[in-house]
Symmetry: C2
Subunit: 434 residues, 2 copies
């Protein structure tokens, strides 16, 4: 039995490693189109910033490691150009063919301009280690005074932070009104304030029509980072007859199998189930890629596992403040047919004598049932822990009346006796009673 | 209608404030035996340490605040000596009688030696603001070189930390083999190591038979803190016919009502439901006192609310490391009739370039059902957030297979892509499969 995995980053390598654990005999080949595997794409902005000194700090495992320690063959610079499922084989750009019994597709995602020809050399994307290395070198050599970031999603704003810390005056241009992909005025105001406090100029509802050597539209730009129009790489799969879902990513069942028997998909190219909406969603994140990849690999190797789905949890650090979110915003909830009620509070996360700082918490629940639908936490401290509590409650389908009584840890160095989460929940319960 | 609340700290004041919110007309009287109300008892060790400069920093509200802002009468130095439920009145030490329609008993707890006569002036408990003030003054005036703490529960070890930071060489004597009330060898070893690393000598299985002016048994002690033998103050209630539960604390139903109609109990004197065992428990903590007090107050004022119960979550900081725990230990689980499986792991909480530190995580689940029963987290960073995730899972009755797939927040400044919680869960799932 042979397993072929297309893609050697998060989902692909999780799948391969897990398959090996399930079946020590399986022949496993990972085909990666780029020169490197197993890099932490989420670390790229911190390499650009200069916090990670050497690009090797981004690499977790090498092909040699996989070969020797896991008995998994990893080929780099091995771009798959066609999948022939009837023949159970993939064809590489080089013309080589590789046979499979089981296939895991983890072809990732890209942004619109990735690899577009004809752009000035001052224009970068931030998707691969090579992208990050080129941008870092450019910043050090050219020391641009002004920069423009196109797109106010995670990568865009992390790039803005990284540029700013390199002394670049940054302008962010975002087509929509949303920051960090969230259609939530409260959240957007907090993000905007944090960016502006740290000298980042932000323009929403602005499309970058032209990118020149030294400017984007009217904005001076010695350096440009394009982080907009992210989309799943599905063309290869689609051409092979793999079904694409309504989100534009590869449709999968809860075993991460596609419509083609024995062909699995996971990572930034694939849909997963959203536990709050009960519907397929496409939220490309490393955590999901690893988990779903692991399930795809297990099933491809003959186990029977299911992926439990996601609730859409993420966090991004902007100039030292964590912006964390999970589940649905009120307006997302409304378009999913819920009748959402939302509250926003602001509360100290611990006593002043333990350097307590403000926590901003938003909770959203359904008016009819009280079921929690989502939440956000913004704070210099404790945002990850608190969003994870909300995420866990979403996994459990918890109602706000139950959430209000959570037995959370308290001691002065760590929290307040009424945790900001519980204060928000109390207020939401009062709103529900109105 | 008149509501009388006995006790003016956490549970009592939560009850009074909540009752006022429910019924603006209710006559509410709070009777506090001591001179102060509304102090953060959990802050006392930090006052002894010197981090909180002024005792007023421990006080949240004054009687005047309650009188003016909440229309609640608060009497201090008002010790209740008898409750006559047939006559619906309480009698104070002064001889005054106060009538009630509804009564909330929140008489708190004490340690064995609290107020014992005949002890040398170098012996302290740490239960009231007065205790802490006297100890702080003693430390500053006498600058003892050696100290003994009797009892290795929360207050004992926090006191040891506080003394150590005042330059005192501390020996802790604990009767049992348990540290921080936990019968768990893994946990105990971590606590012991942290204490010893910071120069605290620890002796378990040692009873302090005699306390002299300058020594406890063989151990030199210019200062002694007794933090052992904590027990609920139930004598007043018991004499009035209020039923005492098997834990020795006041038995309550899920509305925090006692066996006497219209008489409620909450806080360190009362039992609450443990959600993991489904049985009444006595775990005196400020968080529970506030939540249960709030429910008692609501019901006493005519609302119908229930207290959802606790899972036994707590955290204590020892020399900068958080020791957090929730639910049952394996041996507690065994004596509750479960067949526990436990794993312990050690994993970085984030990347090295973001000052990642080790997190120690223990998870316990039931072999038959996979249901999570408890866990612990020990780390310099993120212990509170992670224990709260486990606590939320316990509230939800989650199985480890579900917990393993939690969609937790990730980004390099905040976490690792496989959170230590998920790594522990994966290992526990593998243990279950054996």
């Amino acid at each position: 039995m042979a397993l072929v995995v297309i893609g050697g980053v998060a989902a692909g390598l999780s799948a391969a490693a897990r398959a090996r654990r399930i079946d020590p005999q399986l022949e496993i080949v990972v085909l990666e189109k780029g020169p490197l595997i197993s890099y932490g794409a989420c670390g790229l902005p911190y390499f650009v910033e200069g916090r990670i000194r050497d690009a090797s700090g981004l690499i977790v495992y090498t092909p040699e490691y996989f070969r020797k320690e896991r008995n998994i063959e990893v080929r780099t610079q091995a771009r798959v150009v066609t999948i022939s499922h009837p023949r159970r084989e993939v064809t590489l750009e080089s013309g080589d063919r590789v046979r499979y019994d089981r296939l895991v597709i983890s072809t990732g995602a890209r942004c619109d301009t990735c690899g577009l020809p004809g752009l000035p050399p001052s224009v970068f994307t931030l998707h691969t280690v090579d992208d990050a290395t080129r941008l870092r070198t450019f910043l050090q050599e050219k020391q641009p005074r002004h920069g423009v970031v196109i797109g106010a999603g995670y990568i865009g704003l992390e790039a803005a932070d990284a540029l700013r810390r390199n002394g670049v005056r940054v302008t962010v241009l975002e087509r929509s009104a949303n920051l960090l992909l969230r259609d939530d005025a409260w959240w957007t105001a907090l993000v905007r304030k944090q960016l502006e406090t740290h000298g980042v100029e932000l323009h929403c509802g602005v499309e970058a029509k032209s990118i020149q050597e030294d400017r984007v539209g009217d904005f001076p730009a010695g350096v440009v980072v394009v982080a907009a129009g992210f989309r799943p790489n599905v063309e290869l799969a689609s051409a092979a007859g793999v079904e694409i879902g309504r989100t534009g990513a590869i449709a999968t069942d809860d075993r991460m199998e596609t419509n083609l028997r024995g062909v699995y998909a996971a990572g930034d190219c694939a849909e997963v189930q959203h536990l709050v909406t009960g519907r397929p969603t496409w939220i490309p994140l490393g955590t999901t890629a690893n988990k779903a990849g692991r399930v795809a690999g297990a099933n491809a190797a003959g186990a029977r596992e299911r992926f439990g789905g996601i609730v859409g949890t993420s966090i991004v650090g902007l100039f030292g403040v964590g912006f964390a979110t999970t589940g649905l915003t009120a307006s997302q909830a409304r378009s999913e047919g819920f009748s959402p009620v939302a509250v926003q509070i602001e509360s100290k996360n611990k006593a002043g004598y333990f350097q307590g700082v403000k926590s901003h918490v938003e909770l959203v629940c359904d008016r009819a049932t009280g079921r929690l639908l989502g939440g956000s936490v913004v704070s210099e401290d404790g945002a990850a822990g608190r969003i994870n509590v909300i995420a866990t409650a979403l996994h459990a389908g918890m109602r706000v009346e139950q959430f209000e009584q959570l037995d959370l840890a308290y001691s002065p160095p760590f929290a307040t006796v009424w945790d900001p989460l519980l204060i928000a929940a109390q207020q939401l319960v009062r709103e529900l009673a109105k």
